[in-house]
């Protein structure tokens, strides 16, 4: 490295000409814009899949989860990583007065970042090789190259700063140094440690990384841009360098301590959660200081009329204020209880990455680009880009925030899950539409940088200067003969040491310490021989991880009343002791799956994976037809493995319950949170889970309106539009859905089935529907019944029927026809209770002749002749206690 321009003086023009490597600024800027456009396309396809969930067909590389992984990694590493590097190649030489370490190293870093990390990372994720950790989805093999790239970046950009004294460093330099050092510390912690520790411990480290990725990588580099671009463009120094340094140290002390706020109300020890919540509140205060300082620095800059880079920088500052105050608030338990897992959080993360960081990144690129003498520059296109991006990001943020509130309201009031999906759909449409101005904005940024006159950026700088107030004359940095204050130098050294200590403290307090507590809890509460995963289930887990299922379905029931009422007992640490890495998730589009075991039959899962909307008409789950050989009843091994894994979720706790919970409860009598889980009224509160016994409410006297719509939303997929058991999913279910047109039911039976479902079949319970809606569905069922021709029955037939029944049917269906024969308790599916269900003659005869596939009811033609079958049909129909 050569000292081409010792600060602040200027040496010969020939030597300073190459201070900034403009080719690398150019290359990283173009790479940034290409990767952001690709990432945005991924994002658009993802958002479209909320309306066209089958758009990817059986092409798994375009499946929702893989695109989602590629989208976020593309934005963080591809777009922002390149944008920041482009800016660093301009800023570091200007700030340090020296070139970066090596131009050749720069080319290696560019190649490594884009051709070894970003592109292979995407290809591997799309090919199904990834890791299911948020903001760390590129597979471990790519992680090692990211770490290598971060090391190269540190070698490239840090040495120029250390030639000068610490006390001379401007705040942007501090942010650059801090980011490069701390990202290097945090990246391995967040990307590798979760692969080594299981369950809740893994989640504790993931929480740290989710926030460190934003707080130690993205935010410092974005702020370094803002502190650079705003004063450099306005020509006025920042309002207060003291406040900027206070903000800098505050951010680096507090950001790492925020991580666990992603898992508030989880089983991670409450002390760690409270620590993160406190740090989040303090961070909000610090951000207000930072933003106030930045906005005061921009005063008089004429930003709306002036320089495009400045405009992006100031809008980034405003987005930063909003997103940070929002973040501090949503970490607090009162708000977190309501909005967590909803699209509110998605809006928050988009505002952080697509609002604050992206606008800062564009501001930095534009600022550096204007200073590339040979680069083209189209100010008009960039101004339009600013307007479109501002509008698009603002609309998306507001829309997703509202969507989150709507979803939360439905989750809290106990509505059926699909209500939250249905009510979010209009907001999802607006979100997709907001991608139009955003995409156009990015295209215009690209267009603005590759069209226009060469050197027009310089003219833009001059034009902008005229709109800003007169800049004060720059003053020399240091008076001749003055020595730097010892105390200042020492305070920076102490602060730098303290920041490292705080980072280590964050890992210790929010990662290691909770991990130890969780280890103890697992050791105390876990059953002695926990049922682990079989080979098939393990393969299924890999598929679940690969397809990003955890990004829509959480695997953690929180310690909140709403979660307990909807899903059951909150998740204990030992339940995830074999989950490495964890797949807790941070968002719910579909319901939590922690207690899936025994909730649905296998054929329902197959039908749901193959054609989700055939089973749940308004579901937005993508089809995974690629796991089948053309039909839901032809699952490949992948489908079998995935369903086996789903069926394993919650199994260990269910096997241990209630004795295991009782034993654990006695060990932790004073742990309020543990007691919440251990003394929950039910382990699995899934409203669709069938029950074989238990009380059920009678049908309400007054049916709610809209029975036909309810039928379409909840029942038609299996039973068909007219209730004839011929819905689109019917072909794949065993036993087949009942033909409601040829059965008569008592009100009591309809009430029981709607409340309890039918165990062993795909017929779920509907306990989450209000009483009026259950009555409406019952009325709809009755309306399907077709008129049955009257048949003459002779006394002899009834006598024959009685004889046949007593000889062959009574063991299962019982002497009274009530389905309570002595063999009934041993059967997977309860025998029909003829006192409350009367099959039509044709149905009954068909069952006796063919059996009922998927149930213990076998064909009887080898034992009974035609007359006997007809006779026993008439006999069993006589049990029915009520005229239809």
């Amino acid at each position: 490295m050569s000292n081409v321009a010792s600060s602040p003086g200027v040496e010969t023009d020939a030597r300073v000409e190459s201070l900034v490597d403009t080719q690398l600024v150019y290359a990283h800027s173009i790479a940034a814009l290409v990767t952001v456009l690709v990432s945005v396309i991924f994002g658009i396809i993802i958002s479209l899949q909320f309306f066209l969930p089958d758009v990817a067909g059986s092409w798994l590389s375009m499946a929702w989860g893989r695109l989602r992984y590629s989208h976020t990694q593309g934005i963080m590493i591809g777009w922002l990583g390149n944008a920041f590097l482009a800016f660093l190649y301009h800023a570091v030489p200007v700030l340090a007065g020296r070139q970066v370490t090596s131009a050749r190293l720069g080319r290696w870093l560019f190649g490594l970042w884009n051709f070894i990390v970003v592109i292979p990372g995407w290809l591997l994720v799309l090919a199904g090789i990834s890791q299911p950790i948020e903001w760390a989805e590129f597979p471990p093999v790519v992680d090692y190259f990211v770490i290598a790239a971060l090391v190269l970046a540190a070698i490239q950009f840090l040495p120029p700063f250390f030639k000068n004294g610490l006390e001379e460093l401007y705040v942007s330099s501090w942010y650059i140094i801090g980011s490069l050092v701390f990202t290097l510390l945090a990246y391995p912690m967040g990307n590798i440690v979760p692969e080594l520790v299981p369950g809740a411990e893994s989640a504790a480290f993931t929480g740290l990384w989710i926030h460190d990725a934003v707080g130690l990588f993205v935010t410092p580099l974005a702020l370094s841009i803002l502190y650079f671009v705003i004063p450099a463009t306005t020509g006025r120094p920042v309002f207060s360098h003291f406040l900027s340094m206070l903000g800098f140290w505050g951010l680096f002390f507090l950001y790492p301590l925020n991580g666990t706020h992603h898992y508030v109300f989880s089983v991670i020890p409450m002390s760690a959660q409270m620590g993160a919540i406190a740090a989040s509140a303090l961070l909000g205060i610090i951000v207000v200081i930072v933003v106030t300082n930045l906005l005061l620095s921009a005063r008089g800059g004429g930003w709306l009329k002036g320089d495009t880079g400045l405009r992006f920088a100031i809008m980034a500052t405003i987005f930063y204020l909003v997103v940070s105050v929002q973040g501090a608030l949503q970490a607090q338990m009162t708000l977190n209880r309501v909005i967590h897992f909803s699209d509110w959080v998605i809006g928050h993360s988009h505002l952080a990455m697509l609002g604050f960081a992206t606008f800062a990144g564009i501001g930095g690129i534009v600022h550096a680009w204007q200073r590339i003498p040979w680069a083209r520059y189209n100010a008009v296109a960039l101004n339009w880009a600013f307007c479109l991006l501002t509008a698009g990001v603002t609309i998306m943020f507001i829309d997703l925030t509202l969507a989150g509130l709507v979803q939360s309201a439905r989750w809290l009031d106990g509505s059926p899950w699909m209500e939250s999906v249905l009510q979010a759909r209009p907001y999802w449409l607006v979100r997709t539409l907001s991608a139009v101005p955003i995409t156009a904005g990015f295209l215009l940024v690209f267009y603005g940088l590759v069209t226009g006159e060469r050197g027009a950026g310089r003219a833009a700088i001059d034009a902008a200067r005229k709109t800003s107030q007169a800049a004060p004359a720059a003053t020399p940095s240091r008076m001749p003969g003055q020595e730097p204050a010892f105390i200042l130098r020492m305070s920076y050294r102490v602060s730098a040491t303290a920041a490292i200590v705080f980072f280590c403290l964050s890992v210790f307090l929010l990662g290691v310490l909770p991990g130890r507590a969780l280890d103890r809890q697992i050791s105390d509460m876990s059953p002695d021989n926990v049922y682990g995963l079989s080979a098939s289930e393990l393969r299924g887990r890999t598929i679940y991880a690969r397809e990003g299922c955890a990004y829509c379905h959480t695997q953690q029931i929180r310690y909140t009343d709403a979660d307990m009422a909807r899903f059951g007992a909150p998740t204990l640490a030992w339940e995830g002791q074999f989950d490495t890495p964890h797949m807790w998730g941070t968002r719910r589009v579909g319901p939590d799956l922690s207690r899936t075991t025994g909730t649905r039959p296998v054929d329902w899962h197959f039908a749901h994976l193959f054609a989700p909307r055939d089973v749940v008409p308004w579901s937005v789950m993508p089809s995974y037809a690629g796991f089948f050989d053309g039909a839901a009843d032809k699952p490949t091994q992948d489908a079998r493995d995935l369903v086996a894994y789903l069926e394993s979720l919650g199994r260990a706790r269910e096997l241990a319950w209630p004795d295991g919970d009782q034993r654990a409860s006695e060990l932790y009598p004073n742990d309020r949170w543990a007691q919440m889980s251990l003394n929950a009224s039910a382990l699995n509160n899934h409203p669709g889970r069938t029950r074989t016994t238990g009380d059920y409410p009678a049908l309400a006297d007054r049916a709610a309106p809209g029975g036909a719509d309810l039928w379409q939303n909840y029942c038609a997929g299996c039973h068909g539009n007219a209730g004839r058991g011929d819905g689109p999913a019917a072909a794949w279910l065993l036993p087949k859905p009942a033909d409601l047109g040829e059965h008569a039911y008592t009100d009591d039976r309809l009430a029981e089935v709607l409340w309890h479902g039918i165990t062993g079949t795909a017929m779920p319970a509907w306990r989450d529907l209000p009483a009026g809606q259950l009555a409406a569905l019952a009325a709809t069922v009755r309306s399907f019944m077709v008129a049955e021709p009257v048949m003459a029955v002779t006394v002899e037939q009834l006598a024959t029927g009685e004889s046949v029944y007593n000889a062959n049917c009574v063991q299962c269906h019982g002497e009274e026809g009530d389905g309570r024969g002595f063999a009934a308790p041993e059967l997977a599916i309860a025998p029909t209770d003829f006192t409350r269900v009367r099959p039509y003659v044709g149905q009954s005869v068909a069952a006796l002749v063919n059996g009922v596939e998927g149930t213990p009811m076998a064909p009887w033609t080898d034992r009974l002749v035609e007359e006997e079958i007809l006779a026993v049909t008439h006999y069993l129909r006589a049990f029915f206690g009520e005229q239809p």
Binding site: E167, P231, P237
Partner: protein
């Protein structure tokens, strides 16, 4: 306990920083110095280096 450690240590560090700043005018001046230094660097770069580059090309 963790929350207390975080809050107290953050406030103590910020407090020490603020107190030093309040009671040392020299410190105040020196803390602000880098921002003027930065303006000088940017000014030099914009007015001399970039213009020089443009002329050459």
């Amino acid at each position: 306990m963790i929350a207390n450690v975080i809050v107290v240590s953050a406030l103590v560090l910020a407090g020490v920083f603020v107190v030093l700043w309040l009671f040392s005018s020299d410190l105040r001046r020196r803390i602000e110095e880098p921002k003027r230094h930065f303006q000088q660097q940017v000014h030099d770069y914009d007015e001399r280096f970039a213009a020089n580059d443009a002329d050459k090309r």
